[in-house]
Symmetry: C2
Subunit: 357 residues, 2 copies
DNA sequence: CGGAGATAGGCGAACGTTCGCTCAAGGGAC
DNA sequence: GTCCCTTGAGCGAACGTTCGCCTATCTCCG
């Protein structure tokens, strides 16, 4: 019941008959000059007492907690969860723990969350909360006080960005639809105030123009990343433009809502309307019909973010341009194309243009 | 670039012309006897230097980190993510941070993750990883070293359990299907080795018997919580028992796979086969057809888990029986019932029978 | 005018480490 | 037999707090 007290170095040392500093060298220090005998005695004593190093004390003297902070936007979104899990595991492989702060949906508590992390003296911060991409106060805190990396834009810069190629994501999806002969291609987007949304929209328009089509506001419907919001937006889109024959949706979760709205409107997918999502969540393949989607490497992004952050913490030089991982189109039944084919985004990492991210 | 060093109490005190202990009292201590003048000077100095208390040092002397550890199974599962976010926010409201460790899918690194948390001297641990429900080593670590609460069974007990009423979940879903007149009711489950699965299955069988039906192994298909696994299991189920007219699926994510398999087999939902899921994920309402589901209060569970853990940390007495939150059936189109109605699980919290959880 | 009590603030110790310096003993080379 | 070097281990200091106790000054009362 009462949590057993932890044995300290002093207790271990006493039991082994050495000074606690010597015990420290054996148990936690690296290379030291101690006789094998003494070392064995110390190790035995530690084992018997169940010694567990107190990293708090260690942090104090070493001025490093081996802990990273993760500022998370909406973790219930599968995409961010994939990122976060991969990031934590990569951090742990490198001896670091991860302290998580989940923002409220509006992101109003960004400064509070970052302050919490700073007071706990995290060695670095990963910002993964698009709600904060225009938050100058948080940006300033990250710039001034702690090494950081971000999944999204940080006002004023100074924080390396890791992510995927959002513009290419939009381009890939819509180019595929255009390539199938669609002329009236709509899109259901996330909130316009998010840069990721504007980037994907730009890619979407790139693809339209490449196909000789003119972007039209009537074919764009803004939603809020939820299935419900997307269903509503899709209804608006169908009302405005009955001739729409294809839709690019900014996330697979929203695609669920779009499919729902199309079914309710009596449009068959893909016969009447083709649909392409993005993220390529695990469930996408099992929607009805199976959803064509642009795969975004969230897990790999999480690992890269941690690696970059650890390098920054070591004060190694890090690239200043955003590191954008490539995305790939996974074709399935929902667009009426030939399922099974994949189109990878051409360029390798890293990308260099700010407007891509 | 170089992370600015943090100002210490000594520096603040020097600037304000007081001893650092006095500064400590004003800045971090509670009620102290200090003149308003002095306090102002200290506060001003702290503001000017951007003082941020070093909670590491505080933790060392107070022997409390105000940090909780969360051992997470599969965070990419929306249900656990809801739990984790609510738990973290509740912890933060109470001045605690949350350190997360994500298990590998097999859960083989449970002891390693818990050790990492213990070395960081978390004040308590929340176990939310069904992979560990038979892990005696982890159970022993939790029991001996730190206050803990668990979302699942812990071998040997001694760790309070918080969760929802899984047996009732199964009962509610299947009773609804039976009430609609179905006689051949199948179920696609999670892995049998998970207690939650066996509990839900027991509830399912309860409902069958209450309706005068005899449970049959042929109507049970085991899956792995994924859409793909569920699709496969559903195909097996249809092969074994072509007469099945209703299916209870152990999660909404798996229900996606079941709907997919039914569509592929040419069975219409709900006309040919009725489907009920559980979890009531946000997307459930927007599947085609809208999915009837048993709502499980993951967020509330997370909050309760944290409250219980904090009480345990304060050494307040906590109930020894599992705290099981009620679930409710949300009826939608997929079962062919009358959408919009809800059936709440009758009993209030807490439940007392071990086999319920 | 003396003493008690309140008020403001200082001071030493402790928390559990790491780090670098010191010191004793032993061994080999001359 | 002396000197030096290596090896093994001890020791003090520091990291930035909190906590309890101590002290100096002031106020008020008899």
């Amino acid at each position: 019941m009462a949590a057993g007290r932890y044995a300290s170095l002093k207790e271990v040392a006493a039991r082994a008959g050495v000074s606690f500093q010597t015990a420290s060298k054996v148990l936690n220090g690296g290379r030291v000059r101690v006789s094998a005998q003494t070392a064995d005695r110390i190790l035995a004593a530690a084992r018997e007492l169940g010694y567990s190093p107190n990293t708090i004390a260690r942090s104090l003297v070493q001025r490093s907690t081996c802990t990273l902070g993760l500022v998370a936007g909406d973790m219930t979104d599968g995409a961010l969860a994939q990122f976060a899990v991969a990031a934590e595991q990569e951090a742990r492989r490198n001896g670091h723990a991860v302290l998580v702060g989940n923002l409220d949906p509006a992101g109003d508590d960004g400064a509070e969350v970052v302050r919490m992390l700073l007071e706990r003296r995290v060695d670095g911060v990963i910002a993964a909360a698009p709600q904060l991409e225009e938050d100058a106060q948080v940006a300033e805190m990250l710039r001034r006080h702690v090494p950081a990396v971000s999944l999204h834009h940080v006002p004023g810069g100074g924080v390396p960005v890791v992510g995927s190629n959002h513009r290419e994501t939009g381009r890939l999806a819509t180019a595929h639809l255009a390539g199938l002969g669609h002329r009236r291609i709509g899109t259901v987007t996330g909130p316009f105030r998010r840069r990721v949304v504007r980037s994907r929209l730009r890619g979407h328009e790139d693809a339209l123009r490449e196909a000789g089509l003119e972007p039209s506001e009537d074919l764009v419907a803004e939603a809020d990343w939820t299935s419900g919001g997307a269903a509503h937006a899709a209804r608006l889109l169908l009302d405005r433009e009955r001739a729409v024959s294809a839709v690019f949706v900014h996330s697979d979760t929203m695609a669920i809502g779009v499919l729902s709205a199309l079914a309710a409107a009596g449009r068959r997918v893909p016969d009447d309307v083709a649909v392409v999502g993005c993220d390529d969540m695990p469930f996408a393949e099992f929607l009805t019909p199976a959803l064509t989607s642009v795969r975004v490497p969230f897990g790999e992004t999480g690992e890269q973010a941690v690696r970059l952050l650890l390098r920054r913490i070591q004060e190694e030089p890090v690239p200043t341009e955003p590191l954008l991982l490539p995305v790939e189109l996974v074709v399935r039944a929902s667009c009426g194309g030939r399922p099974g084919t994949r189109a990878e985004s051409a360029p390798a990492i890293p990308f260099h243009r700010e407007e891509d991210k």
